[in-house]
């Protein structure tokens, strides 16, 4: 990515960042920005690394819990932020190494990641008793952990960053992570990763250590997801075992599919748009319009969207739009083989949601 592209990306992102609060509630926007970062992490791992991880929530939830517990113990936020990146990344590295050195692939890998997330979900749900305490932090089981210190200006634990300021902070972190991921994909490591997605055997025969690279990519995805969890924890002011749950695990995949695996911008937009859609469907005003038999049950709508996308637009919105814009013929491959090769000027110039 050239300096000029980076500059364009930053300018567009800045405009978007200041325009959005005019139309939407900042509390929601903060949450959606955290979701977008989570989608970015899976968009990277799946869309570029070709690793279909069904349990990205494991790292997301871990980031949120690590942040909350560290913040309670230290009474300030930044050590929590640091650990919320490092611990999920380390966990992803260990899990990734176990899977990739064991030569687990596609559906088996999906099962293992999903199962790991479910183990954490079950475990966190059982920690309501008094004996589950780390330092000063009760793990709380189903209750989750409320009331931990949230982000503040470094050095002054009383100067909280909240509401608008938290939104700006979250958004800037999202843009930085996006740029970092872009840069990583442009580096030799990123190019090998994409080659690996296209043909693992060929890359291996060329003499690269496939397993180590996959593990590293997985760990990077884990770090991004952990950071997303930490940002979410700051927006929500409570962490609960639901963060590890099956429901969210499904939603992330839908965000990436709808937005378009094989791009970075697509999953982020997918997360924000579908996150907003879910919020709107949950509004009681919408429910009251339809009365008791509300046909817009959120799962019904989301399920239908997912089915329609898989059947008619398997590459997702962003690559398809790119395809139209660059007048490229539409390929029929699965989403994991999306438009990376056909990355066009249009996409590079539209860096952020």
């Amino acid at each position: 990515m050239t300096a000029r592209q980076t500059l364009t990306a930053v300018i567009v992102a800045a405009i978007v960042m200041f325009v959005l609060p005019v139309f939407f509630d900042v509390l929601n926007l903060t949450t959606f920005a955290a979701y977008a970062l989570l989608a970015l992490s899976l968009g990277f791992v799946w869309g570029y690394g070709g690793i279909l991880c069904f349990g990205q929530t494991a790292f997301y939830g871990l980031g949120a819990y690590v942040y909350a517990m560290t913040a309670i113990n230290t009474g300030e936020a930044w050590s929590g932020v640091f650990l919320a990146i490092v611990i999920p990344a380390a966990f992803a590295a260990v899990l990734g190494a176990m899977m990739f050195y064991g030569r687990l692939s596609d559906v088996y890998l999906a099962v293992v990641t999903l199962v790991v997330s479910l183990i954490l979900f079950r475990f966190m749900n059982t920690t309501a008793g008094e004996q589950y305490i780390i330092g000063k932090a009760r793990m709380g089981g189903y209750n989750g952990i409320p009331g931990y210190p949230t982000l503040h200006i470094p050095g002054d634990p009383e100067a909280y960053i909240y509401d608008e300021n938290l939104y700006y902070f979250t958004f800037i972190v999202l843009v930085l992570c996006y740029l970092l991921t872009r840069w990583l994909l442009g580096s030799p490591f990123g190019r090998i990763l994409v080659g690996l997605r296209e043909n693992e055997q060929r890359i291996e025969l060329l003499g690269y250590d496939v397993r180590a690279r996959k593990t590293a990519a997985f760990a990077f995805g884990g770090a991004l997801a952990g950071l997303a969890g930490c940002l979410y924890a700051n927006a929500a002011e409570i962490v609960t075992p639901e963060l590890f749950g099956l429901g969210l695990a499904a939603e992330i995949i839908i965000w990436v599919i709808v937005g378009g695996a094989g791009t970075l911008i697509g999953p982020m937009i997918g997360a924000a748009v579908l996150g907003y859609l879910k919020f709107v469907l949950g509004l009681r005003a919408i429910k009251e319009i339809f009365g008791k038999d509300n046909p817009l049950e959120a799962p019904l709508v989301f399920g239908t969207i997912l089915i329609l996308f898989i059947l008619f637009l398997p590459r997702g919105v962003a690559p398809t739009v790119q395809g139209w814009l660059s007048r490229a013929p539409l390929g029929r491959g699965g989403p994991a083989r999306g438009g990376q090769r056909r990355r066009t000027r249009t996409e590079r110039a539209r860096p952020n949601a």
Binding site: L27, A128, E237, G282
Partner: protein, 406 residues
């Protein structure tokens, strides 16, 4: 499906208000009451009747001329049985809707999620659900029953009837954990003994091996502190294993979600519970409440104890505002602390100023043919569990939830 224009317009304005712009639809001079309840998702069986109770009470208050000459307007949020939405909506209620009082919260988890938020924002909070006791916070009034009113009667009665050895099955979160400790406490006082307590996350629905373990332990009774739809499977599997004739069950939770109507008669028969509400109670104010509910909603089958206490909570708050002659939070709190009472579906309830809890009339009830048959009634029981540890007159800045130590 029919939507009339007014419903649509109301819905649409509320939608736009929530989604984008600060609320303009609610008139400036009405009193704003925030209601946060799970009216969808797995806890809707608790939340929906509670919301109806809120609506009924507000209608009655407004029909009587409102409060301080102003109408009361409810701003409801549906938390969708999702604990994370509670903090979100509590902040919305305080920061943007700027409500005068918040009623709601069902599970103890939800109360603990929003209590700090509401306290920070200096917004008065009423928690109207049966719970494990011990919350000591001047900003909060807990209108539901507590272990001193429930387990303290239920456990000794059960021990007298069935024997000394108790096996506890409890939901694995703060309510179940703390209630279990109270059961141990009251069992010991009554000469009984909790031989084993097992905790189950709310999604567990397979109790086969637990039932075998219970038989191995040979208790004289089960005390069930089970919560939510999945846990109901226990009663089904217990009945299918033919255990109903062998070991009796007492429960602190059954019927607070109308579980006795969901289970078949043979699965529910004989379970002993203790609560402040029964539609069979021969009390004039209960009958008046049932009639009003029937008139407004058409069917009284969905009323449960915590819907009744939600109704109590709203009226207690209204009395506090009237007595204070002001909406100022501290003035209302002081008026309520001076000892406000209300006679409603559960008989007479009186606020205890030192603890912000409530004195209740209780009924010992046996479930028979999906009905709550009252065995005996005990009048005016104070929240003595919380009174042991909490004195807001002496320590007005206390915010703790005290837990009993065993």
């Amino acid at each position: 499906m029919t939507i009339n224009r007014r419903q649509f317009v109301q819905g649409a304005t509320a939608a736009s208000a929530l989604a984008t712009i600060p609320s303009a639809a609610i008139s400036a001079d009405s009193i704003k009451l925030g209601s946060v309840l799970d009216t969808s998702g797995i806890f809707e069986i608790y939340g929906k009747p509670m919301e109806k109770a809120h609506r009924l009470a507000i209608d009655e208050i407004n029909a009587g001329g409102g409060l301080l000459g102003r109408k009361v307007e409810m701003i409801p949020y549906d938390t969708q049985s999702n604990m994370a939405l509670y903090t979100q909506y509590a902040r919305r209620l305080t920061r943007r809707d700027k409500v005068d009082v918040v009623h709601g919260g069902i599970l103890s988890a939800s109360r603990e999620a929003i209590r700090p938020t509401l306290r920070k924002a200096k917004t008065l909070y009423f928690y109207n659900t049966t719970y494990e006791g011990g919350v000591c916070d001047r900003n909060v009034f807990c209108v539901g029953t507590t272990p001193a009113q429930q387990s303290a009667i239920l456990v000794p009665e059960a021990i007298e009837r069935w024997g000394k050895k108790i096996y506890v099955l409890a939901a694995d979160y703060n309510y179940g954990q703390i209630t279990t400790n109270w059961i141990k406490h009251y069992a010991k006082n009554a000469g009984g003994n909790v031989i084993q307590a097992d905790f189950f996350p709310l999604n567990v629905s397979d109790f086969g091996s637990t039932i075998a373990k219970i038989q191995k332990a040979k208790p004289d009774m089960i005390v069930a502190v089970l919560v939510g739809a999945a846990h109901l499977s226990f009663y089904r599997q217990w009945s299918a294993a033919g255990m109903k004739k062998k070991i009796p069950i007492a429960s602190t939770t059954m019927s607070s979600g109308n579980d006795h109507r969901v289970l078949t008669a043979s699965e529910g028969n004989g379970v002993l519970v203790c609560q402040s509400y029964s539609d069979k109670a021969d009390i004039p104010s209960t009958k008046a409440f049932l009639a009003a509910w029937q008139k407004k909603f058409g069917n009284t089958n969905d009323i449960h104890e915590i819907a009744a206490s939600s109704y109590d909570g709203l009226h207690l708050w209204a009395q506090g505002v009237k007595k204070a002659g002001s909406l100022d939070r501290m003035k209302v709190i002081e008026a309520l602390e001076s000892g406000v009472s209300f006679t409603g579906p559960t008989g007479k309830v009186t606020i205890d100023g030192k603890t912000h809890h409530v004195t209740h009339d209780m009924h010992l009830i046996e479930i028979q043919n999906q009905q709550l048959t009252i065995l005996k009634s005990i009048g005016q029981i104070p929240p003595s569990d919380t009174q042991r540890v909490c004195d807001l007159e002496k320590n007005p800045n206390d915010t703790k939830q005290y837990e009993i130590k065993i």
